[in-house]
Point group: C2
Chain length 518, copies 2
């Protein structure tokens, strides 16, 4: 039986919720961690993989990476790397040895253990849009992010079962002072969602605060917190060839406490990376691997992942482009190297489009299929991203979740079942050449769960669609977003844990939060 069969039964379990709200906003697939059964697409042969690997190693050995963090430099010096000021050169042997410590796969367990995710192997998880400074919706247009909008996106993040991780801030709430923003944002996230959360590596205090808040929200002892990954950070290098102070600081703090670090260089070919995609990928890998080597030296075996954000610029304007053919291939190439290094991999769901229209969806489709075909494990910005990451849109969030659900369904082995029952010779014999399959027993037994059921797509014919208002996809998505907010109920939370979390936030605010002068 198809995995989607469980959907009906589980959604039946939401009866109490449905009674309260009158109806569920949408009928969606159940929570699950998708498994990607496909062999990845491999544009490079073995020699090509080795050429990029050799390129990355020569960058590390001959050119070196700037580590703008004295502590990191000192550690790498002790590890035997060649240091000249902030420049650190490392040999392939060292990198290989360090990569050998990194786990191929790890879990992250949030305050609700039922929302535990697996990062690595054939697993694939989807993360909400993270870090846009602005929001856009069909009614209000583009405007700077604020906390009320942040709260809306956090509800969408929690609501959709196909979103597995409450990653970075889905929109930057600029109406909250940076010194306490992380306190309000994480408090909101840890209460409104029960999914894996993330800390920005923007200074020691913020990172330590988020780790402590995550620990408190989970009702965990310090030992229990460190016993396994509970949250994560993502750091970006400053391409070309630099890691900055706060990113390295945050990454080292998390690694020491056994919390995962994803390292994602942003190598835009033609701007901060070579115009050739293999060069951009080699540069990205060199930057990423250098930070991972540092973390593995600090705490061998700590959970890490390699990210890719390699894309290209617009030939005309120099603006970043996303979901391009070059982006897809760079992602697939990075996937081949990530498997060579046995590291979990992150990529993204991205587009350059400014509004949730056709271009937005073909670019996003390209990037999500790139994630699938590259064997990506951790898909950032999987729902809600517009304008190259400068806009978060709730309509786009809803539309993207339809794609994510379709990808999850695409992965289900039930679709490609070739048992005798699935070949259905008896039904074919029964229906013959004059009947149809609507009424036959074989169909009746399987009909309700045989196919993907959409929530945002309109599959009616044109006339029925017109009779119902001729509503375009972005408008339907707007209505769904509003219905979800109206329908939203936060997940249960232990009172003591919530009390401890609230108390911590009050105390830290009284102390002034984090310094904002770096």
């Amino acid at each position: 039986m198809s995995e989607t069969a469980t959907r009906r039964r589980r959604s039946g379990g939401r009866a109490g919720h449905q009674t309260r709200a009158g109806h569920a906003a949408i009928e969606q697939m159940p929570w699950r961690i998708p498994l990607n059964p496909d062999r990845p697409v491999e544009p490079l042969d073995d020699a090509g993989v080795e050429a990029i690997h050799r390129g990355a190693m020569r960058i590390l050995q001959e050119i070196g990476i700037e580590f703008l963090n004295p502590e990191a430099v000192e550690i790498l010096r002790r590890a035997g790397c060649r240091v000249a000021g902030t420049n650190v050169r490392m040999d392939e042997d060292f990198v290989t040895e360090m990569l050998g410590h990194a786990p191929e796969s790890f879990t992250i367990t949030p305050r609700n253990p039922g929302r535990e995710i697996v990062v690595g192997g054939r697993h694939m998880v989807f993360v909400n849009v993270s870090s846009p400074p602005n929001a856009w919706d069909m009614v209000r247009g583009k405007r700077p992010g604020d906390f009320a909008t942040f709260q809306e996106f956090i509800k969408l993040t929690q609501y959709f079962n196909c979103i597995h991780v409450a990653g970075g801030y889905p929109v930057e709430p600029i109406d909250i002072h940076p010194s306490v923003r992380h306190l309000d944002c994480l408090r909101e996230k840890l209460i409104t969602t029960d999914k894996v959360v993330h800390a920005y590596s923007l200074g020691a205090e913020r990172v330590e605060d988020v780790m402590e808040m995550t620990r408190l929200a989970g009702g965990l002892s310090h030992d229990a917190f460190e016993a396994r990954p509970r949250m994560y950070t993502n750091i970006n290098s400053v391409s070309p060839l630099k890691h900055d102070y706060p990113m390295l600081d945050g990454a080292m703090r998390l690694a020491r406490r056994n919390q995962p670090v994803l390292v994602t260089p942003f190598t835009l070919a033609g701007a901060m990376a070579p115009v050739t995609m293999a060069g951009a990928v080699a540069l990205s890998l060199a930057e990423g691997l250098s930070a991972i080597a540092l973390l593995q030296y600090i705490r061998p075996g700590c959970p890490v992942g390699i990210g890719t954000f390699t894309s290209n610029v617009d030939m005309k304007s120099g603006a970043p482009a996303f979901g391009t053919p070059e982006y897809i291939r760079a992602t697939q190439m990075t996937g081949q190297l990530a498997r060579r290094y046995k590291l979990p991999m992150r990529s993204s769901g991205v587009c350059a489009a400014n509004v949730p229209d056709g271009q937005a969806m073909w670019e996003t489709s390209n990037s999500l299929w790139a994630a699938v075909t590259s064997g990506t494990n951790f898909v950032y910005h999987a729902a809600g991203w517009l304008e190259g990451g400068l806009i978060a849109s709730p309509e786009k969030f809803v539309m993207d979740c339809e794609l994510l659900q379709m990808i999850q369904r695409y992965f289900e082995p039930a679709i490609t079942d070739t048992s005798d029952d699935a070949i259905a010779l008896d039904a074919i014999r029964e229906v013959g050449s004059v009947g149809h399959y609507f009424g036959c027993e074989h169909t009746q037994q399987r009909y309700a769960t045989a196919f993907y059921a959409p929530f945002a797509s309109d599959w009616r014919n044109y006339e029925a669609w017109v009779a119902d208002g001729a509503v375009w996809t972005q408008e339907r998505a707007h209505r769904i977003y509003k219905a979800i907010l109206a329908d939203f109920a936060p997940p249960p939370m232990d009172d003591a844990a919530r009390g401890a979390l609230e108390e911590f936030v009050i105390r830290r605010k009284e102390e002034g939060g984090a310094p904002t002068d770096f």
Copy 2:
């Protein structure tokens, strides 16, 4: 150097054209037959492939196919098949022997030999939308097809270099009487395009007329016409388990003259095929292979292809759905079987959406990536299709061509070049950690042709996009469609050939065209 490098030079060659029109409507990629370098995605293991094969063979052996054409039945009786009325059962040995005659790959050469296509192997060609009864555009909305609209779509078909085949009528011109419609439509196609054309198998006279018109337009002798494929037909079975009279008649006429036949059952899981995708695929293959076996018996070695149109219905309404997860997997499974049979394969670019919005593009992206990952050779409806094939839209045509160009670019080996030059270690050393790559020599040499250049996508930031009118994708596509029509110039045509074609059409119209009483 990237293949796109040639684009700039070739578009320079359009100088005369540009002078006349003031400017080219868009800057597009040059004509080429794309080669798909990727290993196909294979959801089935060997046992799964054999299970579907065995299912198809048992359908043919035990249940049989209805051939509603006495001539076809008589031929198959002579071939040793078991016949009972219109029911024909054929053994695996016979099918295998007949499939052994079919070429793995063939060419089709239209009146302009420069537009020759290859069908099979790693080649992939794109066909315009075919056969919708209605048109829709941003200004006029939905309306029945007419000849003026037909002409517009034929111009788009010719204009775009990424459209390789002028397939079926892009919209049905219902203002022309069916008895002479094929004469007006093919006359228009053969003059306004120089690409491969198609005959509907809708009666002997139509098929013979189209073959004759194709011969005359090419200035060919009868022998030269039959010496190689010059046009093609596509036939659909009447699922379940039937081939109708005119489709078989047309297919046999083409096969006898060495012209290609694609056989494409339309097996909608849950309606005219089993609700299980493996069953729907097995049924589709049985229907398709039975017609191919007939044609190979009639003329061993004649060019044929196997088509798939296996999708699923909407669980709620019974309406057809397209670009679904089930559709993608069915296409990939069919690809595995097509390779087992060493037959070229056809699939489609399809969607259920009614307008060119987000849903239209995610469904179409899904189906086009299904074509790529299944190893499809011949992509029907690759541009312009809406409402499950009931609507042809010029905006959708333009938007789809952006996707098709991106797929062509995605296939280019230049993107994944891993030569020393592409790894770019010298440039990485030169730029170091403080510069950027915009200005370096390595970038300057490659910049203009390094990346895909879009014509419909808008990659500017939100503010620049707003300042220019905040035009959504479908509106931009509308403008491009209008600009292309304004800019359009038909391809050159030999005067004598054109005269012969015109004369033929006049004569056949005087004779009354084709009968319309079947």
